[in-house]
Symmetry: C2
Subunit: 423 residues, 2 copies
């Protein structure tokens, strides 16, 4: 029987041209983050099924690729449910494994710990254009720092990395705080036990607009009064740090002390620390929700001007590490949507700058062993100096062969013939 | 319930110090291989279960991490066996996925295609020291080249990469051909249908010695005469290319024409092309078997002098791609044992050369927002020039903090105090 040629559903083979761009983006991100003092780490791609299904991952927990138990541990006859069959799964993000990692290795790590992770994650999502079941995430996280410096450094580092890769683009960083979201809902009169439901609706604002949000809230049975009050509150908010401070005044009594000031502090400091040539605008967005249930404070998202989707996002999750250790550890992270960045560059016909010159040494068929060894020796010497040299047999249709090689980026050709070398 | 802190059995968390070495080795290998004209590609980590269990992988097929079907496709009640439950698995090597990849993408790839892959593979082996269930392989393969140039370039590239990483070490490349192995067995009088069994025993030579091999062959019922004749043949073989040629003469009639000459050609050309300062010795080893069933011709293995294990291995597998396409494509590959190389460097206390200077900016607690922004702005400017700068709050025990940072590689410190900045 012939074997299957296509990759498994929703995953893809990466061709050399895309790989070059991926490699370039990886290096730009890594270099930038290392210049901010982040240390690269790795966790296994396989994670305990108990950890993956511990309600930290929200909807992603429905999309886990689960791994069958092996050997004696697998008992098909006594298995009652899926849970009896599996003991692991492929990670659906890098945040949950990082929390486990920190819990496991804190004694060997500096505090605060600035972690950099670049790795594949897997989600059995419905396959669709540009969305894959295996994709790369690039995360930075600061663990053990409760001060706003964590948010400030994360935003500076991420926007610097994005700015390097997407030169000339303008970025919008939208920022909010989960506590402000909640206080606004309480201020409007939504019942405390239903605030999460309000956020789920609000999170659809990009797709359904404010009218759609109001309609859905109405359909969900919330009072006209609360919906009206919420809309009014929203409409009066300015998007700078002053807007945050004023909103803090308005929400006094329902918003914990210091939250608004903290957010304003982050915004002011980031703006002041940014180089003047940074094409980046930081705005307070009281509508920003972000899906993951584990966020406990600041949340942020980055979009490119003129594109309808975000390219990075993150926030503070002060309660997750405590699930492993029994003791809460402040934590804050920012994740770059690597595949979207790569897709943007591919769509724009981006070529990786400053690659080494690629040379092809073409030798005639039937070259003597001694002559071929001499060609190889010459190539070996040149490679030592950093040259990229392909040694290949000359085809009958040399012109076509050179055209093909030119497409692959070979710009210099050297030819070796039987006669020439016999002399 | 507290979550699990340890990684899953047999897989490991990678700490920053090891990660630095891994990154260094990765870059050295990648750079070297690119200088030989190899193009980096990637395949998904998940592969069709049909492909993984198609008898290409030998014993590795017993060690597959299998992935449970999802949604409607999973039917626990009607499932009779494991095979009904799974539709994918984690790849156990990079060669099988590469063959699928080539079959799927040949039209978009140059011919011959020189592929470079670096990626994790998974095997549910019994956990033991230094051996993990997730580990990285670094493979180069040349697809579509039936000439000995494939072997020659693979050996030159791999030994160049190893020589760069393990400076000062001497490498032994042992080389053989599956056809020579078989011809020797036939020459000695072993029945043709049992030659594979002879190789399985011979493969244990390193562990059990020649006497052990003879004993096992005897126990397996092979004739004393064949065993004696085989041992005699072996004992008279010289390890240079001349030895190969002479053996070719001896085996005339049982060895296909051209095999010995081809191997001798590879050996001569590699030796002549190698730079004079290469600490590398290429020897013909008629005992070299290599476990994988898919090899069809040349096989090779690299060991470091003084170490009891190989650090790289490979060979020609001209029949695998045909399993996907129905048409055989010549193929030859070489795989570096990445984890062993990293382990060697870690054991030797290796430090990554030439990393950028790491500076720490320590600021006093209670610094004003304006002053902190100024510190950050200074750091941002310095980072632009490539500096690596950690900005951190000064601890009460500053001396201890600096000691810790020094251990992490920070060599320069700059301190920012409330007073100094107020001036």
């Amino acid at each position: 029987m012939a074997l299957k040629k296509k990759p498994v559903t929703g995953m893809k083979d990466i061709l050399p041209a895309e790989m070059q761009i991926r490699d370039y983006v990886t290096n730009q991100i890594k270099e930038t983050y290392q210049s901010f003092g982040f240390s690269q780490i790795e966790t296994p791609c396989v994670e305990h099924i108990e950890n993956l299904t511990s309600k930290q991952g929200g909807d992603n927990e429905k999309l886990i690729f689960k791994i069958l138990k092996r050997g004696e541990k697998l008992n098909l006859e006594t298995a009652q449910s899926e849970a009896d069959l599996v003991d692991g799964g492929l990670r659906y993000d890098l945040t949950l494994p990082l929390s486990r990692y920190y819990a496991n290795n804190a004694a060997s790590l500096p505090s605060p710990f600035k972690a950099l992770q670049m790795g594949s994650v897997w989600r059995a999502d419905r396959p669709q254009k540009g969305r894959f079941r295996q994709f790369v995430q690039c995360d930075i996280d600061i663990l053990g720092d409760a001060t706003p410096m964590a948010e400030i450094e994360l935003i500076l580092a991420t926007t610097t990395a994005l700015g390097k890769i997407c030169r000339g683009e303008t970025f919008f960083v939208r920022i909010n705080d989960r506590n402000i979201l909640k206080a606004m809902a309480l201020y409007a009169g939504f019942p405390e036990e239903f605030t999460e439901q309000v956020f789920i609706t609000l999170d659809k604002l990009d797709k359904i607009g404010m009218e759609g949000v109001q309609t859905e809230l109405r359909e969900n049975g919330f009072s006209e009064d609360s919906i009206e009050r919420y809309s009014q509150l929203l409409s009066g908010i300015a998007d700078g740090s002053d807007g945050v401070r004023r909103l803090g005044e308005t929400l006094r009594g329902v918003l914990p002390d210091g939250v608004a000031e903290n957010l304003a502090y982050i915004m002011d400091t980031v703006q002041e620390a940014m180089a003047d040539d940074t094409h980046c605008r930081l705005v307070f967005d009281p509508n920003l929700v972000r899906g993951m249930g584990y966020y406990t404070g600041t949340i942020f998202e980055v979009a490119v001007e003129g594109l309808g989707y975000s390219v990075a996002g993150g926030g503070r999750y002060d309660k997750m590490i405590g699930k492993f250790t029994g003791m809460d550890t402040p934590a804050c992270g920012f994740s770059i949507g690597f595949e979207r960045i790569v897709g943007m560059l591919m769509d724009a016909g981006f070529t990786v700058p400053g690659s080494e010159t690629k040379q092809a040494y073409l030798y005639e068929k039937g070259l003597s062993q001694e002559a071929l060894a001499a060609v190889l020796k010459e190539a070996m010497e040149a490679r030592k100096g950093g040259a990229r040299i392909l040694v290949a047999q000359m085809n009958k249709n040399k012109k076509f062969q050179k055209e093909q090689l030119t497409k692959e980026g070979y710009t210099e050709f050297k030819e070796f013939y039987r006669e020439a070398l016999k002399k």
